[in-house]
Amino acid sequence: MILPYALRGVRKHAGVFALLAGTVAVSVALAALLLGAVSSATAAFVARVPPVPLPAPAVAFYATGGAGYAAQRMPTSLGQQLVVAGLPGTAGPGPGQVSAPTWLVQAANLRVGDPVVVGGRAFRLAATYTASWDHALPVLSVGRGSLPLAGKLYAGVDPPPGAAWVLRPGTGTAAARADLGSVYSPVDLVVAGVAVLGGLGVADTFLLSLLRRRRQLGIARALGWETGQVAAWLLLEAAGMAALGIVVGALLAEAVAPAAGLPRPGPADLLVALLVVSAALALAARRPAAWLRARTVSDLLR
């Protein structure tokens, strides 16, 4: 019963939505600039970190209790090199085995079952995992704007081509830094900031639509809609707008991210977007719901 009215509202307010999309686009541009600034600042900071000698020989994944970090220098298509961290918890599945991010495996032209030399010791590649925006990438993102990082951290201890270093966590600055990066990278902070801005935008639109349509709500109430039904109508409408926004945003990011040198959005990003939007809607709906309840139908129609 309520859904068709909500959908109609979404259609009707596509203009407002376009405005909102414009605002979001501008904030994304600002965020990208900010990101650039943060990442060069990080690069400058990291460049001052003295080189850390690696503990050698390194330890196999399974032996580190599942919280290992693999580090490898990989040539990218741009001819640059990246430092790659392994995903804590997805460590080697068993003695003599390792797992690696899918893209890394593909780039190295490996297959599951292939022998891999890690830290001078032979392992078998047992599994691959998809790393889009997971624990592997914050380390990458620290390295992205500051590719000399690889050279700094592993100066003088270059692994042979196709091989990887494995570090025990907690041994030396390198591991500590990787640990830090996996929890809070500056990119995460910027993304969180943008997400919060987006959430505020959603909440704001919701409040505006409520105030602008005070009379419409009054009419609905006069005709026999209950307060809960009116609230459901507005929430559905806002949720529809938000869903549209998430889809458009994801498509935009998919198109723009590679050019900007940013990672492409993964399922985790969509989940975060959904959570932020739901939270924003839930928060935004509290006051209006009380506002709506406190008003008589006559008040709304006035």
């Binding site: 109430r221 006069a222 026999g224 307060t227 006559s298």
Partner: protein, 218 residues
């Protein structure tokens, strides 16, 4: 269904408090057609709003048949408005996003009546707007919009129809049409009808007139 107000008093808490209604007691027998009139600010609109459950009296009682309605909860009040009361407002109050037919069908759908669209078209036919069913409110003249509003008010076959200055925003010819419609439905279907108005055309017609002044019945 009969509609009864007992000692209705409404005080708005603005500044020192304004008494919009002062102990108004009035009985609208089933199927009656009553015009409530008086100078602006005399409490006509307030009386209709309270009778229709759009707001609550400060003191006094409202009875619809054997049911006291001023004490009903918000949910029950909403269901009462949906099933038993039809409103017509001065400013039409159609939903701008919906076509004429959808506006009329909306209360039907909300009440989960079958064949809502068919019934809506039938009602629009009855108010002479069969051709305009798929037009949006902004594509209709004021008189046409008000006739859609009348059709919408009657959609769920309410026992009571309340019209607050239904001709106030209309030219005299459209106003006459709307009044004729309200009269006709009252005669044919027997809704208890209360119209607030100071339209001389309406006052010149036969029927009961209730005069209010400063919130009291004259």
């Amino acid at each position: 269904m009969s509609l009864r107000a007992v000692d209705l008093t409404k005080i708005y808490l603005v500044g020192q408090g304004v008494k919009a209604l002062d102990q108004v007691s009035v009985d609208f027998p089933p199927g009656s057609f009553t015009v409530v009139t008086g100078p602006s600010g005399c409490g006509k609109s307030t009386l209709l709003s309270i009778l229709g459950g759009l707001e609550r009296p400060t003191y006094g009682e409202v009875w619809m048949g054997e049911r006291r309605v001023d004490r009903l909860g918000e949910g029950e009040l909403a269901r009462l408005r949906l099933g038993s009361i039809g409103f017509v407002f001065q400013a039409f109050h159609l939903l701008a996003d919906l076509t004429a037919a959808e506006n009329v069908a909306m209360p039907l759908r909300l009440a989960r009546r079958p064949a809502a669209r068919e019934r809506a078209l039938e009602l629009l036919e009855q108010v002479g707007l069969g051709q305009r069913a798929d037009h949006y409110p902004h594509q209709l003249s004021g008189g046409e919009q008000q006739r859609v509003a009348v059709a919408r008010a009657l959609a769920n076959r309410p026992a009571v129809v309340l019209a607050d200055e239904p001709t106030g925003n209309l030219d005299s010819r459209s106003g006459t049409d709307v009044i004729a419609l309200l009269r006709r439905f009252n005669r044919e279907q027997g809704q208890t009808t209360v119209v607030a108005s100071h339209d001389p055309v309406l006052l010149a017609e036969p029927g009961r007139v209730l005069r209010l002044r400063d919130g009291r019945v004259e």
